[in-house]
């Protein structure tokens, strides 16, 4: 039965996307969009509509695990969310006036460049704890979580304004291109704010859901959310995200960073290919 095949393939792909998406703090669109467009021949608008649902599913599915383990830093997330939601609204308003191919080329290249600090930091477990001062201190941008061996890690965030700037860009990109831009979020928290890798990916995971919900209304109203596509995607993503979240809680930071580096490379190449007209 053709319909069942279609649903099953999308479901399985989405489980896979949910597992990786929840571990690295990206929405799973990196996996779902190319499978839909390149393998199944779905129009790119429906693929982006499905990706928005996938992002929210990854975020909520994984968060129910992360909240319990106190992995996500809600203060850092809310503070940065000021920038991503405003950026997303501005981006959505500008979308019609901007050449999306040029944007994809620019940001795909930026992602490729950010591979350098990410790869250089491979092996780093817990970043050297910077002193809590200035805005970070006033806004209490700090936290703690437990590693799988039971040791408690205390951390402080640094350079909150640089992080905020990165998030404006990430938010605008979400609004302009309909992507979760989780890669930019993780990099802002990892490189600029020096948060432990797990905190960066899980906090990004929280944020992508909120930002995607902000733009969901527009895609819904445009008719880009196709029931037949989003049903198996939502179910698969929710299961995958819950699985991936359990893996993350049990993993150590260097492992998460290695997986993130691979996904980052794939995301960068996909974006550059998209600029060249290959719909991924």
């Amino acid at each position: 039965m053709f319909v069942v095949e279609f649903l099953l393939i999308l479901f399985l792909v989405s489980v896979f996307a949910g597992i990786f998406g929840s571990i690295v703090g990206l929405g799973g669109g990196v996996v779902v969009i190319p499978v839909l467009t390149l393998l199944l021949g779905v129009d790119v608008h429906f693929a982006i509509g499905a990706s928005i649902v996938a992002i929210i599913g990854t975020s909520s599915g994984a968060a129910s695990v992360y909240v319990k383990d106190k992995m996500t830093n809600l203060r850092v997330g809310m503070f940065l969310e000021l920038a991503t939601t405003s950026g997303a609204i501005v981006g959505a308003a500008l979308a019609a006036y901007v050449d999306s191919a040029a944007l994809e080329m620019i940001f795909g290249s930026i992602l490729l460049v950010t591979l350098v600090p990410t790869v250089m930091k491979i092996g780093e477990d817990i970043p050297k704890n910077p002193e809590l001062k200035g805005l970070s201190k006033r806004l209490a941008l700090k936290g703690s979580y437990a590693e799988p061996d039971g040791s408690v890690v205390n951390y402080n965030a640094t350079r909150p304004k640089t992080g905020l700037f990165g998030m404006v860009i990430a938010g605008m990109l979400s609004g302009l291109l309909g992507i979760g831009s989780g890669a930019f979020k993780v990099i802002s928290m990892d490189v600029a704010m020096k948060l432990p890798m797990k905190v960066s990916t899980t906090t990004s995971n929280f944020m992508i859901g909120v930002t995607a919900a902000a733009s969901a209304g527009i895609y819904f109203a445009r008719g880009d959310v196709d029931p037949l596509i989003v049903a198996p995607v939502a179910l698969g993503i929710l299961i995958g995200a819950a699985l991936g979240a359990r893996v993350l809680v049990r993993s150590r930071n260097p492992t998460i960073r290695k997986i993130f580096a691979v996904v980052l490379a794939v995301a960068a190449v996909e974006m550059i290919l998209a600029a060249e007209g290959i719909a991924v």
């Binding site: 199944l40 909520s60 959505a92 029931p227 179910l235 819950a242």
Partner: protein
């Protein structure tokens, strides 16, 4: 604080999965499609491709008639509502904790979110 937020998320995720699953099962049961196509390409002519009824009355009508698409739509709406509810609850929880700065920050995020979800679909510049 984490307890309340965790329960909301779990409820949203479970409710949405169950409703979408029921809708999908109905869709497959009702479709009665025979496997003719060899190539696995999404073809709107062969697949019961559809769009969601964006109006509230259409959704309610579909739900009372147990229409598969309406059930899936309800499930997706519940899913979309979970991050919004999480932000909404966080406003109150920060306020209860006496953390005024974060109660305000979260309230601004909520306002931006609601503006974006509820109003931008009706503003021309966002739909060009």
């Amino acid at each position: 604080m984490n307890e309340v937020v965790g329960n909301v998320l779990r409820f949203g995720v479970l409710a949405s999965s169950i409703v979408i699953l029921v809708g999908t099962a109905l869709l497959v049961a009702n479709s009665g499609f025979s496997g003719i196509s060899g190539a696995l390409t999404y073809n709107p002519n062969q697949i019961p491709h559809g769009t969601f009824d964006v109006s509230l009355s259409g959704l309610v009508k579909g739900l009372t008639g147990f229409q598969p698409y309406s059930l899936i739509e309800l499930g997706v709406i519940i899913l979309l509502a979970t991050p919004v509810s999480r932000v909404l609850i966080s406003v109150f929880l920060f306020a209860v904790e006496g953390d005024r700065v974060y109660a305000y920050i979260t309230a601004i995020v909520l306002a931006l979110l609601l503006f974006s979800i509820l109003l931008t679909p009706f503003i021309g510049v966002f739909n060009a």
